[in-house]
Symmetry: C2
Subunit: 340 residues, 2 copies
């Protein structure tokens, strides 16, 4: 049975929702879960659940990487953190994957420290699931690498392709690169230098440049970008969505008729929220680190935690790390070089 280590201390609703999500997972997913964190707090939460007979265990540690911690510093100094302990289980083969809803930068830094990179991978990437009108798309890098080289973006595309194909089940994923214009030849130097690498990669369904406005239209299944651009795109989108919601709230409040209208629209609005909700997807992988690590949203509830565990299980079963490792021979090399 696949065994997932779960960071019981990470996330806004830890340990309550994390423990509850872990319990859901063992009951529903045919998976073994190891809760990592302060044992007394975890045990107290477990009292609210009937877990007898389910493969659930606890590994105690008293340190936590907080959201306010500096990632690299925390990774180096907090060696008893729940992230360290959980990832060491993966490193030593005592767990197949690790799931956390904590500090994503801290998780990445700790993963690099404990697990290292998959041989051949130059830089790991932070990824996210981004809602579109058709479902979702997979974006990377969204913040791990503020400055990128073409080879990094090339690898992000290959890793994203494998993940989306094997874990999310998208056949022949459409892979694009974000740019300031959809025509070939549009882009900054990084994009212009990356496009030929993507075009000449065998078995990659590269569809070319993708404009910011077309991500939400669902034109691609995987979109690669440097981590600076990815962070700005993602947080800018969050900002606009927040603003529109706030403006609607402000304007509705001014009119009793509109308040009634809003009440009648509540069901429809809930469905819109559900379609843009991260909880369904549970979390996104740290792609390129030598172990299955899923980082979820800080605001994850038990359902998101359960789903993140499902994703980690699937990543294990589909052998994503092995596939990326196999492709490390062609990663960063063009078709001509491979044919040599």
């Amino acid at each position: 049975m696949v065994k997932i280590a779960l960071d019981a201390m990470g996330g806004d609703y830890a340990p309550q929702e994390i423990v509850a999500g872990g319990v859901m997972a063992v009951k529903e997913l045919e998976v073994e879960v190891v809760l990592i964190g302060r044992e007394d707090e975890i045990r107290k939460e477990l009292e609210n659940h009937d877990t007898s007979g389910f493969p659930l265990s606890v590994v105690h540690t008293d340190e936590v990487i907080e959201m306010t911690d500096h990632p690299a510093t925390a990774a180096k100094t907090k060696k008893r953190s729940s992230m360290h302990v959980g990832m060491r289980l993966v490193k030593n083969g005592e767990a197949d994957g690790f799931v956390t809803m904590g500090n994503s930068g801290g998780a990445l830094a700790t993963a690099l420290f404990v697990l290292g990179r998959i041989p051949g991978v130059k830089r790991p990437a932070l990824a996210t699931i981004y809602p579109t009108i058709k479902g979702y798309t997979f974006l990377l890098d969204i913040g791990a690498n503020a400055d990128c080289k073409p080879e990094y973006l090339h690898q992000f595309a290959i890793m994203g392709n494998i993940y989306v194909r094997d874990v999310l089940g998208v056949k022949n994923p459409r892979v694009g690169i974000i740019s300031n214009g959809e025509e070939r030849g549009k882009g900054n130097k990084l994009v212009l230098d990356t496009v030929p690498l993507l075009e000449s990669t065998p078995d990659l369904n590269f569809i070319g440049n993708v404009e910011g406005k077309d991500v939400a239209r669902g034109v691609a299944d995987v979109v690669v970008m440097d981590g600076f651009t990815g962070n700005v795109l993602l947080k800018g989108s969050e900002g606009i969505a927040w603003m529109l919601g706030k403006m609607i709230e402000q304007e509705v409040k001014k009119s009793p008729v509109a308040i009634l209208g809003a009440l009648l629209m509540k069901g429809a609005m809930k469905k819109v929220l559900a379609r843009t909700d991260y909880k369904e997807y549970g979390g996104a992988p740290l792609l390129g680190v030598n172990g299955n690590v899923i980082v979820g949203h800080g605001r994850s509830n038990r359902i998101a935690v359960r789903n993140a565990i499902r994703v980690a299980k699937s990543m294990t079963e589909r052998g994503v790390i092995e596939s990326i490792g196999k492709h490390s021979g062609i990663i960063g090399r063009t078709k001509d070089e491979i044919d040599d």
Copy 2:
């Protein structure tokens, strides 16, 4: 009286809405307007208006830079285009400013060709007015310069500061730089190298890094970025706003109750749209070119055209070009260098 050359052929609703906007401007703004374009088409539109006694004239030219034209090529080859002709009027002192709703890349390329840069300015920038929960903020560059150097961003900040202070009337504008984290020290190499220049610029109210999610919160009045990031941020925001609107439409359609709710909310939603509407602001300047040039949205109606003319007039009256020229001595230099 301030005299504005107006590109009658640029924009999705040209010449009808452009001519109508020009007519509104001469009637309402104490401004003289010169309509540039195919005279027969313009005269036909003018028949729908009573313009006798108002300072409105027509300069004929038969060429147009289309939205599909390649900017640099069009700027070089279409020398009888309405953009060329209008900007030559500015260059020769026959007009104080030029307004177009046409191809913004074409306008920038033509402006560089005809008007050149303000002495001392390294790169001109495309700017835009971006809606926020508090009103709006001024973003630049949004696409003119895909790759930037720190000196460019530094100049964008100084030019944006002058424009927002003198034309939009914001006292002591808060100037920020977009980054992947608000803490000092977060950023890509470009941001890290630009921040010290901004910090050491006298009379610049530099507030530091601004995250993508905080732009819409209205934390800054001016936000600078390279043109690649700006384009992705702007178009990504457009995409999300479109997606949310579309999702609401789709979900509402499924339920008669929600349809009724949407009808009752119509007034409130219209107010939200008005708050995010570009028409109020008319357009944004090409900052750094040696002449007052305002580029508006392709979908501009007559009101947006009128407002763009108002902005061009204000830019003239406030002497924005002269202010930027005066500051060209300190642009790109730090306080220490200036004190030398």
